[in-house]
């Protein structure tokens, strides 16, 4: 590591810590910077000027703004491409590199393409590579390989990003003189104020600009304002970028790895203005930068930006730049003032007194390229008209050119909110024309360029905001604004040989823009899209003004009519990680979840729930499912059914509500009995099923499928609100844990724990429901079964669900009780011919199509879907659900959605299929043609691409057709 030859002695206001050296590497070489340095400033201190290569022509690029506003300083940081070197703080051990080059950053062998620029006009690849057909497939990787910025690691690990909400009375965006003044005014009036500043420090231009001849005013004001802001209780967020303004003042503010979602009653935009580049040949060379960039290097980072400089200006600030350069020990070879007769001001007089050679009415004509690819001089020419010059008459050696020819308001956020900006001839830049409600603008973006004017404008904006909030404060004066004299109306000096860049991001030259307009893309929006001007990382900050000027000139339209292109969020680059934030992925666990895991269950998602699929390692899946099913058929098993929806429907109209919602009749349902509950939508399609257990004349407990519970609850509430019945619906899905104990020994096992309910078949028959206790736990007992065996569904308070599970397993040991999972349950229910809504039905399946006409009460006047079903039954059924068995036991098990075909046409599909140990054959459910539904009918299932297998229709249920086992 060598000493930093361009580092200046300490001075007030610098942002570096001279006592904290920091070593980092760039392009594999180690450099030493100081804490507070950015990569660009630390490298500049070592005289490193080339930071990257340009997008199209691979031209060397260096510092332009020192504000993270351009693509010239984008570098590769580990797996993160396109990181602005001029805002990225150095850190010990940081490793960064240039990007978009072949060979080395200093000598890019790919830069030859720049010599062929005239053959690569805007949109050349649209026109060149589409013939012959298929050619683009060849050219695309070539073009994409050469273009682009940086390298994305598609395997990069997801970092921890998150989001946070914030609420404030007033949000002020921009911590410069206007923003601080606005925040202070609002806070002093009692408002809750947020001040957002993109830099790591407050101050904006106060931190680096020279507002007076002495160079003291800005720093003095900064000290005063920032101290007052912090003392006033303003919440200050530095290093925070407001990326967008959305509806009702919803602001997205990125700070570090967090997106703050800020809701503000009032917003003050004080985002400043962006210094504009002059357009001349080779205006992109490293060493050519904005005047403000040079000042940032000097004042913030203590770095001398060059040895011999030329300042190109059209306003007083350029003279301030010259004075700062002199103070930093830089020789100012000349100051070109584009204006014919520059007015005198304190700074210009001071510059002249210090011997600066002021050359009025002269323009930069061509930057001279040095041996190392950076600027080594400037050819200058006398301005003779609108963008026209005499032949250059002098070449001045220099290693630094500072451009201070004007500003454009940084109005992106205003545009997001629906505000307007338009070109103003008097001030020769865009000015604010419309501000949305509950928003104010202040400072240089509002045309208040002088410090005192900006502060006054800020105070006024802050006062406006709090006044709209109903707070009272003394009315501050109006600011004296007006941008005349700050912006040159035509700082564009096209060169016959080009390389006069209008857009550095996309390597667009003046001729590119003119040619695009000549091709017919003469509307500013079309021009932007076709040329891609303003579509790079700078987002038009340095392009939009010149683009509008060139478009106006080429089309002959008034520049005020040409307008500006649409501006959309985000203001600057943001990461997908910021948008995604922290992933919230809710998971619902049943009360018995951990018991399943302890028993070795493989858990499967069911909506937000996790359910046990089977209890074994995956390699023993099939055996486990068979064994679990056998336990239910031969002994006793238990399954966690807590995920089923559960609803208490209570009140005088409880039966009426169910009667309208479900297909059966519930009005005549006796207390102590359950009924199947089939729900359709208004088209008649089946959407859910469950049971309705009546525990009281005014109380039904209704279950629903796991996946349909939310929809059923929503439907119940919605229809109840429509019908205004005297009934209440309470969701108990999470409140009740459920266990189904099933199998020939279920009664024996349950009897050991349930002493207050007579479990005998006569006293508690199939489809009976009782209230009692199981293992001392208050329980709702439903004698229903999905699996076709003697069984009881036990619903208990969720907090006691685990205890119930434990007690059942313990009590059932002597009967070899075994937990069974969803997979076994699906097999068992299929043997019984029970459908699973959503698997054996779809969005067009009405009850008759599913062979469930038995579930419809024929005599009641109404239920949801009734009319639609009746209408559909006027026509022949297009298909019908049947049970089937494969005729050849050696055929493979069909999969869900395998097609039922006849004569090459699709007539149905398989909905469920599996091998049944109990039946010793492959069985399933399928939709078939109406004339194929008779038991014994045979139909064809297409397996995969070509294989056809035969199946035979079997009367449902396959298992225990008389229901003796479940009713025992």
């Amino acid at each position: 590591m060598s000493a930093a030859p361009y580092r200046l002695p300490p001075h007030p206001g610098e942002r570096i810590d001279r006592d904290k050296p920091v070593a980092f590497s760039f392009e594999g070489r180690t450099y030493e910077g100081l804490a507070g340095d950015t990569v660009a400033s630390a490298l500049a201190a070592h005289g490193v000027k080339i930071l990257s290569r340009s997008f199209k022509y691979r031209r060397p690029r260096g510092v332009l703004t020192m504000a993270g506003q351009d693509a010239n300083t984008l570098i590769q940081l580990g797996d993160a491409p396109n990181v602005p070197a001029d805002t990225l703080a150095i850190a010990q051990g940081l490793e960064v590199a240039g990007q978009n080059y072949s060979g080395s950053l200093a000598r890019d062998w790919g830069s030859w393409i720049g010599h062929f620029g005239r053959f690569l006009p805007v949109g050349f690849y649209y026109k060149a590579f589409f013939r012959p057909k298929g050619a683009w497939r060849f050219w695309e990787p070539v073009v994409r390989g050469r273009a682009g910025l940086g390298r994305v690691d598609v395997k990069a690990h997801h970092r921890y990003y998150d989001k946070a909400y914030a609420w404030h009375d007033v949000a002020v965006i921009g911590g410069g003189p206007a923003g601080m003044a606005a925040a202070l005014e609002a806070a002093r009036a009692g408002a809750d104020v947020l001040l957002v500043e993109e830099n790591p420090y407050l101050g904006g231009s106060l931190a680096y600009a020279r507002a007076d001849a002495e160079g003291e005013l800005a720093l003095r004001r900064l000290t005063q304002l920032s101290g007052a802001v912090r003392g006033a209780g303003v919440r200050v967020m530095t290093g925070a970028m407001c990326q967008g303004v959305f509806g009702e003042n919803w602001l997205s503010v990125i700070q570090g790895d967090r997106m703050h979602k800020v809701r503000a009653k009032e917003v003050v935009l004080a985002t400043g203005s962006v210094e504009q580049p002059a357009i001349f040949r080779n205006n992109d060379l490293p060493g050519i930068m904005q005047g403000s960039a040079a000042q940032r290097l000097i004042r913030l980072y203590g770095v001398r930006p060059g040895k011999r400089a030329i300042v190109v200006t059209a306003n007083s600030d350029g003279y301030g730049v010259a004075l700062d350069l002199l103070d930093a020990g830089v020789e100012v070879a000349a100051l070109l003032d584009l204006r014919a007769a520059p007015p005198s001001c304190a700074r210009s007089e001071a510059a002249r007194q210090r011997g600066v050679r002021v050359v009025p009415r002269y323009a930069p004509w061509e930057g001279v390229i040095g041996k190392d690819g950076t600027v080594s001089g400037l050819r200058i020419a006398r301005v003779v008209g609108h963008g026209r010059c005499d032949a250059p008459d002098e070449t001045i050696d220099c290693d630094l050119i500072c451009m201070s020819i004007g500003y454009a308001p940084s109005a992106q956020l205003l545009h997001h909110a629906g505000g307007k900006a338009a070109y103003d001839k008097a001030s020769a830049t865009f000015t604010i024309r419309g501000v949305p409600p509950h928003m104010a603008v202040a400072g240089s973006m509002d045309g208040a360029y002088e410090i005192e004017a900006a502060m006054t404008d800020g105070r006024r904006a802050g006062w406006d905001a709090v006044t709209r909030l109903g707070k009272t404060a003394d009315e501050p004066p109006m600011a004296s604004k007006g941008g005349a004299g700050w912006n040159h109306p035509w700082p564009v000096f096209p060169h016959p040989e080009g390389k006069d860049f209008v857009d550095f991001d996309e390597d667009l030259q003046v001729s590119d823009i003119r040619n695009a307009i000549a091709e017919g893309y003469d509307h500013i929006e079309l021009l932007k899209r076709y040329s891609t001007a303003g579509m790079g990382p700078s987002q038009g900050r340095h392009t939009a003004l010149t683009l509008a000027r060139l478009a106006a000139e080429a089309t002959g339209r008034d520049i005020e009519i040409v307008g500006a292109t649409t501006v959309r969020p985000p203001v600057s680059g943001e990461k997908f990680g910021h948008l995604a934030g922290r992933g919230f992925e809710p998971v619902r666990l049943t009360a018995m979840h951990h018991r399943h895991v302890e028993l070795g269950a493989q858990m499967m998602p069911a909506g937000l729930w996790l359910r046990p699929a089977y209890y074994a390692t995956p390699d023993k899946r099939a055996e486990a499912i068979r064994a679990e099913a056998a336990a239910v058929r031969e002994g006793v098993g238990i399954i966690d059914v807590s995920t089923l929806g559960g609803f208490d429907v209570r009140g005088p109209d409880a039966a009426e509500l169910l009667n309208r919602l479900y297909t059966f009749n519930y009005k005549n349902q006796p207390v102590g009995r359950a009924r199947y509950a089939l729900m359709c939508d208004q088209t008649g399609a089946i959407i859910d099923d469950g049971v309705a257990a009546r525990f009281h004349d005014q109380h039904f407990y209704v279950t629903a499928t796991t996946g349909g519970a939310d929809r059923v609850y929503q439907s119940m509430l919605w229809w109840n609100a429509q019908w205004r019945l005297d009934v209440d619906v309470t969701s108990l899905t999470a409140a009740y844990a459920g266990v189904n104990i099933a199998g020939p020994r279920a009664r024996d096992a349950l009897a050991k724990l349930c002493k207050d309910v007579d479990l005998s078949a006569n006293a508690f028959p199939y489809m009976g429901v009782r209230l009692g206790t199981v293992a001392g736990i208050p329980a709702r007992l439903l004698r229903v079964g999905f699996v076709g065996e003697l069984g009881y569904e036990l619903h208990v308070p969720a907090s006691q669900g685990e205890a119930l599970w434990d007690a059942l397993l313990y009590a059932g040991r002597e009967f070899d009780i075994r937990p069974f999972g969803v997979e076994a349950q699906r097999l068992l229910r299929m043997e019984k011919g029970h459908i699973i809504v959503g698997q054996d039905t779809d969005g067009e399946t009405h009850p008759y199509m599913a062979d469930m006409g038995w579930a419809i009460a024929k005599k009641k006047p109404f239920f949801i879907g009734m009319r639609a079903i009746a209408a559909q039954m006027q026509r022949p059924l297009p298909r019908k659900l049947v049970g089937f068995a494969l005729t050849n036991p050696l055929d493979p098990v069909p999969e869900e959605c395998h097609l039922v075909v006849r004569d090459g046409a699709i007539v149905g599909r398989v909905t469920s299929a599996a091998y049944s140990d109990s039946l010793r054959r492959i069985i399933g459910l399928a939709f078939v043609a109406p004339d194929q539904t008779e038991p014994g009918s045979r139909f064809t299932i297409k397996i995969g691409e070509k294989k056809l297998i035969e199946a035979e229709v079997v009367k449902l249920p396959f298992y225990d057709p008389d229901g003796k086992r479940q009713e025992m």
Partner: protein, 233 residues
């Protein structure tokens, strides 16, 4: 040593609490995380930021057209304003969630018999058009305490819960980390504190979410004893 599995009624996340080192104590017929090793330290930490599981403590809800009238007839005070809590004479708090819905939370000591008394008094016959809601099973119950609590909530909830905007006794029925939740401001002594109640099946998820959101502020689990100490200050 009190073990949660010795009780039929168990916290929805008693294993998670045990993983944190919880030492349980019997309260209201269930095992509650009393502390995690040191009450003194937890009380200090809880004044900054802490998360406590109160799920085993009694609570009950009622809804229906006549719910609030019936609750008032049973001696519950207040219930005049939506989304507001009224503290009862015995420390129990009653919240009016809607014109047709009320929620009753027991005191930290769980000594009041109000919740049990209301449950005992209720039936479809005795309370027409008033329907009991088993809030002790439908909802977990956590407490978030400490001066950084509102900051932490800002990471997971879109409602402004800052103490100067969300007064003691206020109720927000909102979304927290994509889960429905009821948040109640209930300071403990001089310490800012909130109750949060939500889907009991999501208790483990929410516990992890909140602890994750608390990490940057140093928030940790705290036991009931630490909360009682805060409340007594």
């Amino acid at each position: 040593m009190v073990r949660p599995v010795e009780y039929a009624r168990r916290s929805f996340l008693h294993r998670r609490l045990a993983e944190h080192g919880a030492v349980f104590a019997e309260v209201a017929g269930a095992a509650v995380a009393d502390h995690y090793g040191g009450v003194d330290g937890e009380a200090v930490g809880a004044a900054q930021l802490a998360l406590a599981d109160l799920s085993p403590l009694p609570r009950i809800g009622f809804k229906g057209r006549n719910a609030l009238n019936w609750m008032i007839s049973q001696g519950v005070r207040g219930l005049q304003t939506d989304n507001a809590v009224d503290v009862q004479y015995d420390g129990v708090r009653a919240a009016r969630l809607a014109p047709s819905e009320g929620l009753v939370l027991c005191d930290l000591e769980a000594k009041s018999g109000t919740v049990a008394r209301l449950a005992e008094a209720w039936s479809l016959e005795s309370a027409p058009l008033c329907f009991l809601v088993p809030r002790a099973d439908s909802h977990y119950w956590f407490a978030v305490t400490g001066t950084r609590a509102a900051e932490m909530f800002a990471k997971v909830c879109g409602v402004d819960l800052r103490p100067d905007r969300f007064a003691v006794g206020s109720v927000a029925q909102t979304s927290v980390a994509r889960n429905n939740a009821i948040i109640i401001r209930r300071d403990m002594g001089h310490t800012l504190a909130y109750d949060i109640l939500g889907d009991s099946a999501s208790a483990d998820y929410m516990w992890r979410c909140l602890l994750d959101a608390m990490a940057e502020f140093g928030g940790k689990p705290a036991g009931l004893s630490a909360l009682r100490r805060l409340a007594a200050e």
